[in-house]
Amino acid sequence: MSTSERIRVVIAKPGLDGHDRGAKVVARALRDAGMEVIYTGLHQSPESIVEIAIQEDAHAIGLSVLSGAHNHLFERILEIMKEKAIDDIILFGGGIIPDDDAEILKSKGVAGIFGPGSPLRDIVDFVKGNVKPRM
């Protein structure tokens, strides 16, 4: 994408999970890398997360799930994105997600999964390298 356009990322906590250390750290790292970051806060429904991303004209949604409900939540958000014919927002995420589940989620359309210990630099580079330019 062009260097003049600022990347906008929605960092979201879907479901009932209350662990937001990772979400906040990633939000801060993306911000420090020059991106505009909207953090949703806790306990968001999949519907409201997609809605926020549309309203904010986001390039990416980053989900943080440590509750074990990742399969349901990621897939539900992909489903809503499909229903709304959103094809210019990438979905990525992290949390306590076993490798096998991460592979399945990626095969279904999640662009990247970052587990515990992922370097912040990798996440920043991933977002920069994968967001889609706007027409």
Binding site: G15, L16, D17, G18, H19, D20, R21, K24, V25, A27, R28, A29, Y39, G41, L42, H43, S45, S67, G68, A69, N71, H72, L73, R76, I96, P98, D99, G115, P116, G117, P119, L120, R121
Partner: protein
């Protein structure tokens, strides 16, 4: 690379000398202010309670895990509830979809609680329950199970976490706004001091504050600031400090920095004792003794080279024992990836047993006392934490939570720590140094989504067989009393007995109390 500071940023001298007044300030173990421990003979008298936090899937599945752990030598129980239970929703609520039984056991009614403790004598075991916003309801269920299985409820022993302040700060499972939440807590203090005198009615928790990324200083400072607020509320609601003070317990994290952690536990005891005696006028020494549970630091576990986690847990557990803990949970090596498998949970328990029975550290109380370094660091932790408490006090605890002051401090520490790992200023073995391409593949515990259907069927069956009219009346009565100043515990107990669900009881309270929405973001 040369590290010259603790994880909290305390600059360390190349060597420490004994603070001149160490002896005067540190009377022997068992004497005020209990820096050196609350009992003179500590673990010779009694080992800490080995209490592994566990719960997943249905009550029956978790009951099997409880029996396994008890059979392997665990000495107390600790229940992990799933998120819908912690947030006051039934398993058949639409928001529970995908979450039932995932991070803990699903409990919808007292019937689930009965299954959870099947074959376990509630008059003989002590049970800790990590439950906060709906703590009163789960404790009521526990008491009803005791009664219905022939145990005098006044004999039940254990702890409910019941610490809502740290939920707003760090853990996120809140339901109601702060004021009604604090009222639920003081109602619980009051009711339990009469009816369940052996139950600890709060476990004031630094654990989650630390997991959210705070330093050890912040964990200590914010936890004791919260503790002070609970004590004030209890006194204001007319409770006797010498009675409820004995039923207050604490819950701390044992993280990687060995000496800083031990110093933290010692400083915490001293600060609490001083606060209770000098500030609040407690006269019964038991109300001044800080008793605490420890859990090793979940956030210190790595997904990379998970076997290494066993070593981390051992060092952390050792710090908590040298710090004088009353009970301990050791994490399992697979917890950066999922809930612990049966095999890894047993290894974690074995770690405690090796420390207890083989290492010899239990033979003498506070064996590191008099170490120039540790005594110096204990004083330093206290001093720094006191500064933080003063900052919070200036704002007011509830205000400092509602305006995000405390949360911002923690987030800042979390980010600075992460940056240091990213810059390799702090080494995490297997993560930013000594990496390996291939990691051992673990057999992970998996909770099937279909267990939600079993829970939903159970709720349906209970609703069909209970006396609906009585349930409706009890829920209505509960809402009415919630609007007054009367203690609501007896009304919750009544609803529980009639097989009202957790969600129904919480909804009844939601209509009166409203729900909490944080007003700030980062």
């Amino acid at each position: 690379m040369d590290i010259d500071e603790t994880l909290s940023g305390i600059k360390l001298p190349e060597y420490s000398i004994a603070p001149q007044d160490t002896e005067a300030k540190n009377p022997p173990p068992g004497q005020f202010p209990y820096v050196r421990g609350i009992y003179p003979s500590m673990y010779r008298r009694q080992l800490w309670t080995m209490r592994q936090y566990s719960g997943f899937s249905t009550a029956s599945k978790t009951n099997q895990r409880f029996h396994l752990l008890l059979q392997k030598g665990q000495t107390g129980l600790s229940v992990a509830f799933d998120l819908p239970t912690q947030m006051g929703y039934d398993s058949d609520d639409s928001v529970s979809f995908g979450e039932v039984g995932k991070v803990g056991v699903a409990i919808d009614t007292v019937e689930d609680m009965k299954l959870l403790f099947h074959g376990i004598h509630l008059g003989e075991v002590s049970t800790s329950m990590t439950i906060n916003a709906p703590a009163m309801i789960l404790l009521a269920m526990y008491a009803v199970v005791a009664e219905e299985t022939g145990v005098d409820p006044s004999l039940i022993q254990g702890t409910i976490q019941n610490d809502i302040l740290k939920e707003y700060i760090a853990r996120g499972t809140y339901i109601f706004p702060p004021e009604p939440s604090m009222r639920l807590i003081t109602d619980t203090f009051e009711y339990c001091s009469k009816e369940f005198p052996q139950f600890n009615t709060i476990s004031i928790s630094g654990y989650h504050i630390r997991e959210a990324g705070s330093t050890a200083i912040e964990e200590l400072g914010f936890t004791l600031a919260n503790a002070r607020e609970y004590v004030r509320r209890a006194i204001k609601s007319g409770l006797d400090i010498n009675v409820f003070g004995k039923r207050v317990s604490f819950f701390f994290n044992a993280h990687n920095d060995f000496f800083e952690e031990i110093a933290k536990f010692r400083a915490a005891r001293k600060m609490w004792a001083n606060m209770m005696k000098n500030e609040f006028g407690a006269t019964d020494p038991k109300a001044m003794m800080l008793r605490f549970h420890t859990q090793t630091a979940g956030s210190s576990l790595t997904a990379q080279q998970p076997e290494n986690n066993i070593v981390r847990v051992t060092i952390q557990a050792l710090a908590s024992v040298l710090g004088g803990t009353q009970s301990l949970h050791t994490n399992s090596k697979d917890e950066a990836l999922s809930l612990p498998s049966e095999k890894s949970a047993i290894t974690a328990l074995r770690t405690q047993q090796i420390i207890a029975h083989e290492s010899g550290v239990t033979h003498t109380a506070d064996p590191l006392a008099g170490s120039y370094h540790l005594e110096w660091l204990t004083l330093k932790l206290e001093e720094e934490a006191q500064k933080l408490i003063a900052e919070v006090e200036e704002i007011g605890v509830l205000k400092a939570i509602e305006n995000g002051f405390i949360q911002s401090k923690i987030s800042e520490s979390a980010y600075q720590h992460e940056k240091k790992i990213n810059n390799q200023e702090r080494v995490i073995v297997g993560v930013n140094k000594f990496e390996q391409k291939e990691n051992e593949k673990l057999e992970l515990l998996k909770v099937e989504d279909k267990i939600a259907l079993d829970q939903i069927a159970k709720i349906k069956q209970i609703k069909e067989t209970r006396d609906q009219e009585k349930v409706d009346h009890a829920l209505k009565r509960l809402a009415e009393v919630a609007g007054t100043e009367e203690n609501i515990f007896p009304f919750v107990l009544e609803a529980v007995k009639l097989r009202a669900t957790l969600g129904e009881i919480c909804n009844s309270l939601r209509t009166v109390f409203g729900i909490y929405k944080p007003s700030f973001t980062i």
